[in-house]
């Protein structure tokens, strides 16, 4: 559940989600669930010319299973906090 909690803390921030089909979408993280499905708002596709059908999509739901990367804002990651959380989780606490 570590990454679920982690993504929950990122809600409201601007992220870029890169999918396994090479579509990259930038938008405000609206919500995330246990499957790491992601909802984005005010989305825009990074390579708009290649994906003209995405022009009219402003809000979208992305299935967690098709996500390759989530690019985060540089200040969105507290490495030490994440590090501690990972150790805690590994100990089973």
């Amino acid at each position: 559940m570590l990454f679920f909690s982690y993504f929950k803390d990122l809600v409201g921030q601007e992220v870029t989600v890169e999918l396994k089909n090479d579509l990259a979408i930038r938008g405000t993280l609206h919500s995330v669930d246990q499957y790491l499905n992601i909802k984005l708002e005010n989305t825009r596709v990074v390579d708009q010319d290649k994906f003209p059908h995405m022009l009219s999509v402003r809000n979208c739901f992305i299935r967690g299973s098709v996500v390759r990367y989530v690019q985060l804002p540089p200040d969105g990651v507290d490495v030490d906090l994440l590090h501690d959380a990972a150790r805690r989780e590994a100990r089973g606490a």
């Binding site: 999918l19 089909n21 579509l23 979408i25 609206h30 919500s31 995330v32 669930d33 499905n37 992601i38 909802k39 989305t43 003209p52 059908h53 995405m54 022009l55 009219s56 999509v57 402003r58 809000n59 979208c60 739901f61 992305i62 299935r63 299973s65 098709v66």
Partner: protein
């Protein structure tokens, strides 16, 4: 089982906020389906009413009507809510330079594109002995 209240729905990752809206579903095989979302579940299985497939080849596109579709969730890549960019055109969702063509024409264009892709594939295969890298 408890149901999320209406205010929770808009804050959650559930698809409930897209119910009865016009949506675009991107599938894993690259197909694009449009229609009205009537139902869904936790796997992103979805029921689309008045579904149609939008085929895009280069600058041409065509919407092929399909009817009522149930989409199995594992094939879903993305579900997007479609907004109208301009009020009184029916093809508001695409860049203005794109041209609507008939179903036969788009099928032909699709075939040409596919065959060009296959040709590129075989050419590359035949050239492999040259070892470009």
């Amino acid at each position: 089982m408890s149901w999320a209240g209406p205010e929770d729905i808009y804050l959650s990752t559930s698809l409930a906020s897209y119910l009865d809206r016009k949506i675009l579903v991107l599938l894993r095989d690259g197909r694009k389906l449009m229609g009205t979302l009537r139902s869904f579940d936790q796997f992103a299985n979805a029921v689309l009413e008045g579904a149609c497939e939008r085929v895009i080849v280069g600058e041409q596109y065509c919407d092929i009507p399909l009817g009522l579709y149930v989409i199995r969730g594992e094939n879903v890549v993305l579900i997007g809510e479609m907004v109208r960019l301009l009020l009184d055109t029916e093809r508001e969702e695409l860049p203005p330079h794109m041209i609507r063509v008939s179903e036969t024409e788009i099928k032909r264009a699709q075939k040409v594109e596919r065959e060009a892709g296959e040709l590129r594939g075989t050419m590359r295969k035949r050239m492999e002995f040259l070892d470009f890298d």
